[in-house]
């Protein structure tokens, strides 16, 4: 078990004939991801990367391959529509599916529309946009759906959820430093309006028998971390280790991610750490300490 994406999940790549899509499709295949097709309108019928069929639409692709997930490497002006096309295709064809959008720089109001569209299709889950993707490492290979470096991961029992890209890799490396692997790692992205949130991930990790502990990496801005901490306090029995980036960020300034702005005095790192502490989440104040804090939490829970 893992969450949402099994090791052998069948995956489509939207935008596979583009530079980014092609490069990452190759990296995903190299890792062992079961890429079953690509989608580029107007290029249906082509075969790329030796044996990957290209389809004109996501619906054609899902119907031909019975794909479980689709990952989007489409430029920002077209990405929201790509999300909606995938949601429609999964909903129409099999009633469920996971859509992962890697694209950075999608207009916020496009995402408002796309998220509302996805939410009307209850069996469809959106991860991202502006995120590294989701990975479920296997004994050998596994399902890497996104742009994360596959080789730093190993199959294990720690679930990771994060708003940030490279900071997620840092968290992965920290689990490895104490000889722990990962069940599933989810990058939910740093945009103000996105699909899957912290609470969705915590609920899924809580229900997943493979996951024994959770690492949660937040960022300043919004109140998603505070809401998640409160929810976890009431609903999550597994140990959680938390870190929040942006303690030194000045208010009103955007720190790279569009969502990372402290505004109106809300969403500071101090608020979020305090909410974590109040919910019994084990805090790392420095990402280099995540491994040690996790080890202590595992020992406390009798898991080491």
């Amino acid at each position: 078990m893992a969450i949402w994406i099994e090791e052998d999940a069948k995956v489509l790549v939207q935008g596979i004939t583009g530079k980014q899509g092609m490069f990452h499709a190759e990296m995903m295949i190299e890792y062992g991801t079961n890429i079953v097709g690509g989608v580029t309108p107007g290029k249906g019928g082509q075969i790329v990367l030796d044996n990957i069929p290209v389809f004109d639409s996501v619906l054609d692709a899902v119907e031909a391959t019975d794909a479980d997930a689709s990952v989007i490497y489409v430029p920002p002006p077209f990405a929201a529509e790509a999300i909606m096309e995938a949601a429609d295709a999964f909903d129409r064809s099999k009633g469920e599916g996971v859509v992962i959008c890697i694209t950075e720089g999608i207009p916020t109001l496009d995402m408002v529309k796309a998220v509302a569209y996805v939410n009307e299709r209850v069996g469809v889950r959106l991860i991202g946009p502006n995120c590294p993707g989701i990975i479920t490492p296997g004994e050998t290979g596994g399902a890497k759906i996104g742009i994360m470096p596959g080789h730093i991961h190993a199959k294990g029992r720690i679930g990771i959820v994060s708003k940030s890209g490279t900071l997620t890799y840092e968290a992965v490396a920290q689990t490895m430093s104490i000889d722990e692997g990962q069940s599933t790692c989810v990058g939910i992205g740093g945009d103000p309006v996105n699909g899957t949130g912290f609470i969705d991930c915590l609920a899924a990790f809580e229900a997943d028998p493979q996951t024994k502990a959770i690492v949660m990496i937040g960022e300043i801005g919004g109140t998603a971390e505070e809401d998640a901490a409160q929810w976890a306090d009431e609903n999550v029995s597994k140990p959680i280790v938390g870190f929040v980036a942006g303690a030194t960020a000045p208010p009103g300034k955007r720190m790279g991610h569009a969502g990372a702005i402290i505004s109106g005095g809300k969403g500071t790192a101090a608020d979020k750490f305090a909410a974590f502490e109040a919910a019994g989440i084990h805090i790392a104040k420095d990402p280099s300490e995540i491994g040690q804090v996790l080890l202590n939490a595992l020992k406390e829970a009798g898991l080491r």
Binding site: P76, P107, T108, L109, D110, M111, V112, K113, V115, A116, I147, M148, P149, H151, I152, S162, K163, S164, G165, T166, L167, T168, Y169, E170, A173, P192, V193, E219, I220, G221, G222, T223, A224, D227, F243, A245, G246, A247, T248, A249, P250, P251, G252, K253, R254, M255, G256, H257, A258, G259, I261, S263, G264, K266, A269, K285, D286, P287, S288, E289
Partner: protein
């Protein structure tokens, strides 16, 4: 949740949502059918006086145009002597002489408000606006609520006040509606808001027309935020936008080249931040001494945090992004070293798609071409990190290579002689 007050009110957008001036916002309002008072944009005292002559109003408002709120309660100071010239960045003028003295006190001086920071902003633009008979002042804002994932419209009878205080002390006076992106702004929602504001039938009609136009503008131009404080009701029950704070989502510029080309005022932005943006880097200047060069926004923030944790002070936020090459690393070093406060540099790279050996070569090229004189600590991790570290140690340059972020932060703090 929903009912909670969650988003920012007084910060008009962020560093990279594009802000525009009030006079530009009002021109946009007028174009979209939102009632505003007649006004004239001026960049000199002569133009301000010509504005007075054109408007033919017995009373006008002379308003400093800067990209920050709190202008009315701000202070104008002389940029050289830093001495106070005049209290308040918005004044009423009842004569040509008033306009002349106020305009000359404003132009070329610096306006300091609670949103500008101590350094303030140079006033280069004025707006001369006809006065109007105000029956009541309201507050109105449109923004994207990230928790509800929809456009939030907020209105209050407590216009002209510090709205954050209203939200804090009398939240029941701040009324909200969320717009369903599929259904759009609905009549019953507008009616509900108008009733909560206690508007008469006639004023409600004017309010509805204004709000529909405002939502249309927000969506069609990809605004990040529109804030009007005050929105006024005249004695004739007409609703007029007496203020216009508008910012745009930079991600949507591809479909609004007009907004970007015609309304961006580069003089309001940090020079180095513009230079970084052009190189595809994300940079925010801070007040400390340790320059930071990192890949990824979250890791960049975490690097700053850890430097602070070990007693140092970060000089900047700098994310070189996922696809940075040698050239981008060199540009990044240049930008960091443009800041005279920088006494040392910390590089923190977690190689994913980006390979550490390429970064290491970029670092060497940059230190050689810029003849780097401040201490440099480099932490490389992830893809090809060993090769990267070997390249650095074999370069013969004075580069301190470390394995973890914590180790790096401690090292750089120690090298510049600070810390605890």
């Amino acid at each position: 949740m929903g009912a909670m007050f969650k988003e920012d009110l007084s910060v008009a957008g962020s560093a990279r949502d594009m802000n525009i001036h009030e006079y530009q916002g009002k021109a946009l309002f007028a174009k979209h059918g939102i009632s505003v008072q007649q006004g004239v944009h001026a960049t000199s005292v002569e133009e301000a006086l010509a504005g007075w002559d054109t408007l033919g109003s017995s009373i006008v408002a002379v308003k400093c145009q800067i990209h920050a709120g709190g202008r009315g309660k701000g202070t104008l100071i002389d940029p050289q002597s830093r001495e106070m010239v005049m209290q308040g960045g918005v004044h009423l003028a009842r004569s040509r002489e008033d306009v002349e003295s106020q305009a000359s006190n404003m132009l070329g001086n610096v306006l300091v408000t609670k949103q500008t920071g101590e350094e303030g902003k140079l006033v280069q633009n004025l707006y001369i606006e006809a006065g109007c008979s105000i029956a009541h002042e309201y507050y109105l804002a449109l923004l994207v609520d990230r928790e509800e994932k929809s456009v939030l419209i907020m209105a209050s009878t407590e216009g002209g006040m510090d709205i954050e205080e209203v939200a804090e002390n009398t939240p029941e006076l701040l009324h909200k509606i969320w717009v369903d992106p599929n259904a759009g702004l609905l009549g019953f929602q507008i009616g509900d808001l108008a009733r909560k504001l206690g508007l008469s039938k006639m004023a409600s009609r004017s309010f509805a027309k204004m709000l529909r136009a405002m939502y249309g503008l927000f969506v069609s131009k990809d605004c990040a935020m529109v804030e009007i404080n005050p929105l006024v009701r005249t004695e004739n029950d007409e609703i007029i936008a007496l203020d216009a704070k508008v910012s745009f989502d930079e991600n949507a510029f591809f479909r609004h080249p007009d907004v970007f080309n015609e309304m961006r005022d580069l003089a309001e932005e940090e020079e180095t931040e513009i230079k970084a943006e052009q190189a595809g880097l994300s940079y925010v200047k801070l007040d400390g001494e340790i320059g930071c060069l990192v890949n990824g926004a979250g890791l960049a923030m975490a690097t700053m945090d850890v430097i602070k944790l070990y007693g140092g002070d970060p000089a900047n936020f700098l994310d070189v992004g996922g696809g940075a090459d040698e050239e981008a690393v060199k540009t990044a070093f240049g930008i960091i070293l443009d800041d005279p406060n920088v006494k040392g540099i910390m590089v923190n790279i977690f190689g994913g798609i980006m390979r550490c050996d390429i970064i290491a070569r970029g670092i060497i090229a940059a230190t050689e071409s810029l003849s780097l004189e401040v201490p440099l600590v480099v932490r490389l991790s992830g893809t090809n990190f060993q090769e990267g570290r070997n390249i650095l140690s074999g370069s013969g340059l004075d580069i301190h290579s470390v394995e973890t972020l914590a180790e790096g932060a401690q090292k750089i703090v120690q090298l510049i002689g600070g810390g605890v």
